[in-house]
Amino acid sequence: MQKLTKDDVHPKIVQALLGADSHITLEDALENEMILNMGPQHPATHGVLRLLLRLDGETVIACVPELGYLHRGYEKMAENMSYMEFIPHTDRLDYISPPANNVAYALAVEKLAGITAPPRAQYIRMLLAELARMCSHLVSIGALAMDVGALTVFLWGLREREKILDFFDVICGARFTTSYTRIGGVASDVTSGTLKKIIEFLDQFEEKLDEMERLLNGNRIFIERLEGVGIISKDDAIDLGFTGPNLRGSGVEFDLRRATPYLFYNEMDFTIPVYTEGDSLARYFVRADELRESSKIIRQVIDKMPNGEVMLNSPKKVLPRKTEIYTKMEELIHDFMIVNFGINPPAGEVYSAVENPKGELGFYIVSKGEGHPWKMKIRSPSFANLQAVPHLVKGYMISDVVAIVGSIDPIMGEADK
């Protein structure tokens, strides 16, 4: 954090920061008022988020977030590549939970192309999405605890996450950049041995989670730093576009897995944790409870998983198997056409949204019947959630800003796209 001079801040940002008192300039702000820059290079902003804070003493009067430091123009890039080629780029949106993004994107394209993946592939997708949710929440809780000064939980959380990443490695072939889903299925099947290992992991994970919760829930510093900090009411939370755990921390029972069921979530038995306080602590409790719910869902998914194919047999839309490409003429032609010209879904537009760990991840795709989308918009949950930061931090101390941003759990990869 450093004090700013006039050259550092664009006049329009100053205008937004000062609001009604626009006659104040940066140099002659009121005696005890000051404008402070936080980020984009700051360990507590979870990436490259830049916050400009207007302070009165230590109290935040106004806050202006500045985005775009990780803007890679994915929406522009998507317009210039085939549907298949964009799958690896979805890994880099919410980079804490890549498989969940892969699933969201594959579902959107399949909806547009009018195909459905085989049941086993859909169960595998659910399994991966829930493992990704656990991954994301473990990092989120750990980072929040670290932001307010408790380092141990971060290390314990990352230790458990490492085990999940090992599963990603076994199933997808990569720990982070999984690129696991294909249009019409998933890249490879899951062995029964892996599924058994996942059950074993869950058995010990629930104990470990109890340990972690004991460490936090009985920790007076942790509770006092979060309780009553960054309160947002139910109506404001909806109005500001909150989704996911943040919204459920404000007492709204809204989960897209229930509201608009996709995959086989309507067959799963799970509860949606809701806390009514709306403060940072409630948002932490929601995530901790969701870890247990995810573990419950994974057990059911493994229990109910049917046998069968993991890729759809639809030659014009789905890549054929490699063994067939090398031996059959038809398959070779289809493979050539799909790789070179794309899957050409019918002209039309589709909006498909799923419940990602951070909230609602939506893909809006406009097709003109060509191999690449005419337009693709990514509705990222972190972008919408960050919008509430100025509202949340107003009136709190500067040290609370760190706790509030941590409890919102933004990932700049998807907020900046």
Partner: protein, 160 residues
Amino acid sequence: MKEVLEEKLKKEFSESSFEFTEQFGELTIKFDKSLIVPVCKLLKQDEALAFILCEDITAVDWATRTNRFTVVYHIFSMKHSFRLCLKADVDNADNKIDSVSFIWKAANWPEREVFDMYGISFNNHPDLRRMYMPEDFEHHPLRKEFPLMGIPGSVSLPKK
């Protein structure tokens, strides 16, 4: 849901035309851009509809069409678990549309993003700045004429 919406909109805006389309199980309503604020107000405030969550606002650049842009709104009614898509055409010569950010606060940033990426400005927007690109950037990257590789020299380096 479609019948209810049709009836309510017809009753409130009798002289305007609304184009209903259904695709992939999603309902889309297209209408004139001058109606965007009153229609959104009705959809949000009507107790029976209650589209209280504004999920997303974006635009589509059709490049060669007369009405070059279409502004697309995705709104959600938690009461009915129903998603609705609203569309309004905007011409390049008069690329302005009324802001809905005072109906849903969530519309603030997405509108800024549309302004940044397409150069469509929103009337009565409280803080219409660029969202991602630097403030002194002169182009609108998601317009179809903007090259994929970017324009060399268009992003200025930091002063220090």
